[in-house]
Amino acid sequence: MKIELKQVTKAFNKQGNAVNDLSLTIQDGEFVALLGPSGCGKSTTMLMLAGIYKPTDGTIYFDNEPINHVEPKDRNIGMVFQSYALYPHMTVLENIMFPLKQMKVPKSERVFRAHAAAEQVQLGHLTARKPSELSGGQQQRVALARAIVKKPRLLLLDEPLSNLDARMKIEMREEIRHLQKEIGITTVMVTHDQEEAMTIADRVAVMKDGSLIQYSTPMDLYNKATNLFVAQFIGTPPMNFISGDLMKLGESYTFQENQQSRLIGIRPYDLKLGNQGNVIMNATVSLVEPLGHSNLVSARIGDKLVRFFADASYRADRGTPIVCSADLQKIAVFDKSTGQSIDTEHCIKEAFAV
């Protein structure tokens, strides 16, 4: 199902909007992640899609049909909550059958479909238990089975992985992704974990303070952040920012610090030890942390701390002067006052003076 939000606004009180003038289109069968720090309006947006909240302004369309005033029960959606929200007084099977029961599906078909859904999430052997007798990951699967059993037009996932431990998270992530592709259902997931959003979604909508900041594929978010906020938010370890100008010296550029100038952002993976790249910077080592497969080097370029990866055999003491470099194409430049991304050309200066 294609979903369209047109200038949707939600206000809970007069002080400000929880969601502000949000326009977003989700294609049929697409997996979209709403990403942002807590309080950015992503959960509110999802609850508006679910019909729990009504938009204060604007319109939401399901397949070009405005559904602002359609009750949640008539929207044919499935949702997985962060707390799973299973019905503790029902068994796993009853939990999964519950949506079908509301649709007045005959009992035998109900049981059959619930069992099929349970099998789909590998829970077939646990259907007689109560939710309290299951582990967190299993409860998660029940919630997922309950959400997909009625074959909804839209699947909503509200921070579905945040209560799981690290290993379980990766496992569930793959499973959700697989399941979504298998049944081809349009899916919206809310998360504050950028790694989760990047790995699972076809497109990611980054939100901040109730507004949409950027809406694009994970690769574009990583490589072509249109905004300083997105650049800071996406990627582990986070992007390095130095403020200054680049001096053109023939084929290469040298960095000169200037607090008034634009911000230059370089991903830790793009910054390299040595001078192979064409943007060359001088730095002093402040810490080398071994990670096993490589070493994470923290260094100072002028006033700013940057981090990058070095060979696992690399050793250096604090204060060692080093040279590091990056490719000009991999560098992002942001305007300090607006936070908008600008062309790299803007911070290059001809080094006449040198």
Binding site: I52, M79, S83, A85, Q102, M103, K150, L156
Partner: protein, 282 residues
């Protein structure tokens, strides 16, 4: 050595508890013995064991020339009173508690505060006003009139307790129900109500006990013998201080206590659960 050491503190605890509870236990034992004797030597040693005091169960009792109403009428009325009170209190309290906990309506905060104030009102202070109202409604000397009054007095506290239980139910569960295809009302009775069962059990128990032990309102507003309840029956036995049959009084008192004891034995599990965990037995 080891076992003795660990037993010692619990022994002390039992001794201390035993001494403290002894007066209460002795009072009940005295009551029981007194109901089976015609006379107590020195007031404590039973002599002349008899079942005479218990004959109110199978025959009419005549005191001072006036015949007492049947104990079974009183018992039935007591059950009717306590039972109706429980049912009414639950229906109204559970709905009101949900509204106070979940619905946003103007004056909600004010209502929350005034219900508390209402509960602080002693029923004695309201006796005269209640009399006028019952008389006006033609419900004076009727069990149903007193049931309504008692329910009204109990509702604030019930609604408050139930509200606490509803507060503990997460919005997520309710929203999940809505998304799974229920109306708000259906969510309420198929999902939310089962979740607060321990709370409902607790409130039901308290309501029944309050109804069973109610005396003042019943004594004031019920005159006729066919509407008498057990508490008023006991009072009637003591109405003339010169001719009190203490044996009979003891027997009826014990008879009055039996349902409460049975009720407690059957419900203590849910009662204790609530007290120990504050109601989060979900």
């Amino acid at each position: 050595m080891k076992t003795q050491k660990s037993r010692l503190p619990s022994m002390t605890a039992y001794v201390v508890l035993g001494i403290i509870t002894l007066p209460i236990i002795l009072m009940y034992i005295w009551l029981l013995l007194n109901s089976f004797t015609t006379q107590m030597k020195y007031g404590v040693i039973p002599t002349n064991l008899t079942l005479d005091n218990w004959q109110f169960i199978w025959s009419d009792v005549v005191i001072n020339g006036t015949e007492m109403p049947s104990i079974w009428t009183a018992t039935l009325n007591s059950f009717l009173f306590a039972g109706s009170l429980t049912i009414l209190e639950l229906i109204i309290g559970v709905m009101a508690g949900y509204a106070l906990s979940r619905l946003n309506f103007p004056g909600r905060q004010g209502l929350l505060k005034t219900t508390m104030l209402l509960h602080a009102f002693p029923s004695v202070a309201l006796l005269i006003a209640v009399f006028y109202i019952l008389n006006f409604l033609g419900l004076f000397d009727s069990l149903w009139g007193v049931i309504l009054v008692k329910t009204a007095l109990q509702i604030p506290m019930t609604a408050w307790i139930i509200k606490g239980f509803f507060d503990d139910v997460s919005w997520d569960v309710e929203w999940a129900g809505l998304i799974d295809g229920c109306t708000r009302f259906k969510v309420w009775y198929t999902i939310v109500i089962p979740l607060i069962k321990p709370g409902i059990a607790a409130v039901a128990i308290f309501a029944f006990l309050a109804g069973w032990s109610e005396f003042l309102l019943l004594y004031t507003f019920i005159l006729s013998d066919e509407n008498i309840t057990l508490a008023a029956y006991l009072q009637k036995l003591m109405s003339n201080p010169n001719v009190i049959n203490y044996g009979l009084l003891s027997a009826v008192s014990i008879f009055y206590m039996i349902p409460v004891l049975l009720f407690f034995i059957f419900t203590q599990k849910s009662l204790m659960q609530v007290n120990a965990t504050g109601g989060k037995g979900v």
